[in-house]
């Protein structure tokens, strides 16, 4: 009984539990075991969709990971954008980056985190304004998504770098979401994407989402066929890094993910064992 109380006291001590967790995470991050990974079917499907893109495809890439969630979203976007850039030149694929509702990604993270890791689009032979462009940030909720969908120039007149969007050759003939062939969303707001861009214009949507958003936000749309495929979190990022043969941050964090999950599951099991023992001793 006394030992029970001591264990419970220790495992509810904030400093002990949080300190233990941080130390347990530091070890596998500093020295990853490099265990094999099992690639999820969603990641394989996502990869195949990108790999089999038709020449001349126009992709609207809504890049909106907020800084607070970048740990789960940016690692996925890095190998995906690397994959796109790798095939864009030979297949004349056009990539239009934009950021609706959330500015962190499109104004900063794309340049610092993505291009800072995989290199600039110019390194892949892509020219700004002809092969790729950054349309910048559009503030607002439903009305921003809807206005952009119906008339791009009503919500954006200048791109991220201050160029009039009509001066970009790749914007010729692109007036609304209807003129794109594929939509990719990296961030939250998956409901908005389906509501304003997917269903009205019947466009295929690929989503890079939080793991925590899969069950409530993405799966209902995916199973209904409104989202074509998705990648979820760092786990999917690790899969994609393996598929494009570019190991990075995500693969390095898999051991830490395993440890943190095992830690929490162990705490839950111990908590329930202690509860059963308490009830049993209470009955006695």
């Amino acid at each position: 009984m006394e030992m029970q109380e001591q264990i419970k006291k220790l495992l509810t001590n904030k400093t002990f539990v949080q300190g233990m967790l941080i130390i347990l995470l530091i070890i596998p991050l500093a020295r990853p075991l490099g265990l094999p990974i099992r690639i999820d079917q969603h990641s394989i499907n996502f990869y195949n969709i990108i790999e089999n893109l038709e020449p001349g495809t126009k992709i609207l890439f809504n890049y909106i990971p907020p800084v607070v969630l970048m740990g789960d979203l940016v690692p996925q976007s890095i190998p995906v954008i690397y994959h796109l850039f790798s095939i864009a030149k030979e297949r004349n694929i056009k990539i239009y980056f934009v950021g609706l509702s959330v500015a962190d990604g499109i104004l900063q993270l794309l340049d610092t985190e993505v291009f800072g890791t995989i290199g600039k689009p110019e390194d892949y032979g892509l020219k700004y304004g002809e092969d790729w462009c950054n349309l910048g940030f559009v503030a607002g909720g439903d009305i921003a998504w809807s206005t952009f969908a119906q008339n791009i120039r009503a919500s954006i007149q200048y791109d991220r770098y201050g160029n009039p969007i009509d001066s970009l050759p790749m914007m010729q003939g692109v007036n609304s979401v209807a003129d794109f062939d594929l939509i990719i969303n990296c961030g939250e707001y998956n409901t908005m994407i389906v509501r304003h861009w997917g269903t009205p214009y019947n466009k295929p949507i690929l989503v890079l989402c939080l793991t925590g958003a899969v069950v409530q936000d993405v799966e209902p749309f995916y199973r209904a066929g409104q989202i074509k495929e998705y990648l979820a979190g760092v786990r999917a990022a690790a899969d994609y890094e393996k598929l494009v043969n570019r190991p990075g941050r995500a693969i390095a964090s898999l051991d830490a993910i395993s440890i943190s999950h095992i830690f929490l599951i162990a705490l839950i099991i111990i908590g329930n064992i202690l509860y059963v023992m308490e009830r049993a001793s209470g009955r006695e």
């Binding site: 962190d104 439903d142 009205p200 209904a224 409104q226 929490l264």
Partner: protein, 206 residues
Amino acid sequence: MVSQDPGVWVAALFIMMGYSIVVKDNPFYRFAERTLVGVTAGVLAVQGLENVKKLAITPLMQGEIINIVPILIGLLVFFRISRKYAYISRIPLSMMLGSGIAVGMVRSIPAEIIGQVKGLFSPIPAGATPIDYLNLVLVPLFVICTLLYFTYTKEHTGTLGILTKIGRYAIAFGLGANFGNMVMTRTNYVIRPLQIILYKWLGIKV
């Protein structure tokens, strides 16, 4: 090799200040917390200003005088802060609300109501197993039972009671699965700052 970049040192110091609360509440943590609040507000305001510059101020400077109208109406939003004149801010807010509600409403019907209901009755895939047939029945059943669980016009007894009980257990199962996935997202909140400390600051290579 420890980083020579002053930016990385600043980041590492702030991360350690943030995690110092694990030991005990202390002035370093409170300093880091206030810094985050201040920087976040500043960053949001800058991002908003970027949008206003591109959408209204730059066209205005280039001779499109009409853009003065949304700027002037939009500035009325700031009256929200005044207790005496807050009612003036209702004008731009009601314009935002009116447009947002209307577009959200009309578009949510085909996407989230009709689209989701249609999705429940998908065609039977080729090579379907008995489990697939069972799943095709179970999904609409769980949808109906969940919806019934939240109806309060009739007491949950008899057949309704059985269906709402199924709904309740399905909700527990669904929320549990959601929680399980949420843990993964939250884990990455912890991993990211530790990666900055280990890889960027201390220069550990993996």
